[in-house]
């Protein structure tokens, strides 16, 4: 179909990603201790999404993929975010 371009990610990049993930995990563990009540879950979810984003970008090579694939992934995320917002339109106002 199209000519395959080989993308080689260098080890230092992977190492930095690993350190980043470990730092974020530490935050995840520390957040409940800060006693932020309702925000605890929100911050934990943001941290988890950030980690997932990093994994997709580097380990799953989304960074170097075709634009079409990036659009599809963004579309999927948009749908899930909308679904969660709609669900909370019940919980917040109930």
């Amino acid at each position: 179909m199209t000519t395959e371009v080989k993308h080689i990610t260098e080890y230092p990049v992977y190492a930095k990603v690993l350190i980043g993930l470990l730092v974020l995990t530490t935050f995840t563990i520390l957040v409940p201790w800060l006693d932020l009540t309702a925000f605890t879950a929100l911050i934990a979810l943001v941290l988890a999404s950030t980690k997932a984003g990093i994994v997709m970008t580097y380990f799953m090579h989304l960074k170097v993929e075709y634009i079409l694939l990036k659009i599809l992934v963004i579309m999927v995320l948009a749908i899930y975010v909308s679904v969660i917002i709609l669900t909370f339109s019940d919980y917040i106002f109930r």
Partner: protein, 534 residues
Amino acid sequence: MTGNTNLHEEPSYLIDTGKRKGIMAWLTTTDHKRIGLLYLWSIMVFFIVGGILGETMRTELFKPGQQFYGPQTYNAIFTLHGLIMIFLIVIPGLSVVFGNFVMPIMIGANDVAFPRLNLFAWYLYILGAAVVVISQFTGNGPPDTGWTFYAPYSTQTHTNVIAAVSGAFILGFSSILTGINFIVTIHRLRTPGMGFFKMPLLPWAIYATAWIQVLATPVIGITLLMIIAERMFHIGFFDPALGGDPVLYQHLFWIYSHPAVYIMILPAMGVITEIIPTFCQKQIYGYKAIAISSLAIAGVGYFVWGHHMFTSGMSKEAIWTFSLLTFLVAVPSAIKVFNWVATMYKGSIDLKPPLLYAIAFIFLFSIGGLTGLIQGALATDIQVHDTSFVVAHFHYIIFGGVGFAFLGAIHYWYPKMFGRMYNIRVANVAWGFLFIGFNLLYFPQFIIGIEGMPRRYFDYLPQFTWAQQISTIGGYILGIGFIILIVNLFRKNGAKATSNPWGGKTFEWQLPSPPPMENFATPPAVPDNPYDYD
């Protein structure tokens, strides 16, 4: 048709050419056409079981009070009827049978992108079905929750919910794999020169469906696991006594199960869109509008699930939002209906069985759709919620819509699949029985639903007797129609089918009937317009 090099004399896909013969050749096949037929046979067997269960319920309801089985059995039977009809028949339905059989041919491909994954998905489907069957005979009796497994009852009933839920979970995986397979197939295997807007409209519909399968099904998977966790470890997702929320179950369940309705209906709409131009010998009206409306239905369809929950105690802000969104999703469906009718206008209409089913589809689907709006409107929904009005509504959509489209599709592609014709007059008679029986069966349920006949009730007040009896008689007429239909399709004395008996324009009609194992010896030439009749 001129200059077509694909009408060559290769052995048909029905003839075993590999090293395995007979049943083993079928059970190990990776050919999309054979896998389509594997699904067709499986679905037919399950449909006969589910149909007989339905007929027993109609017989039980012929008179008030108990005829021949009691309330607990009735609960178990409508649960199994729902599980079979929804999870084993209409969710895979047209997508796995005709999406497998004709979609790759329509885009000029020789198979799907992942043929082995395709076969694996069929095995998962059979495994899931087997687990559902096992759930009926093990544990403390068959589940009595209804196919929706609503919490908190599903977490408390002593019946065998865990096994049934596990079966549905496995079926979900089969559905996801099929969805991934079809998305990749349509992106990667279109024949050179076929852009998205040169594809026929069934592949468009299958494509939109596949996205819903991939994105929505994981939600039901997680939800079903949560039921199992709640039952086994008393975690408290849904049980208020443990700090849970039963409405959360309804959210999670319908986040999947409303889009699942579009998994069922979109391929049906795709089939109707193929049948109508062929039997009117006319260019489809509004090609792009139909293609885009499939995506619009899939997209907006994610955001309307709350219309199943207007009486659940959800916040009124959410209720308003979901009601508005529900009215919006009716628009792309209506676009399709208008375009089909506009296609038929001034066409040279040939009332062959496939077109009869397509016309019945438009009629029944419209009744189902318009009664859906009654439930989308907040005030009227309170009146009809959980009554037989809802039962009538979704049978008009699922059976009158998806079911009739499935039968239309079988009568349309039957010559291509099996290389021979069926008796057209007998097929028309069967259609008449089905159409009359269907309306007698379900229309009275609208009326007594408005009058307050609850759904899922084993017994009823005497004033509903007249309608229940018309329904039961309609159910028997429907059954007779199916017997005539099946006998007609199984009689092996039909004439040999030509490659293009209906005068269709899409690629499958350029191949011999039945097609060879490798569909295309040379890539077919792509026309600018897949429905170029004028």
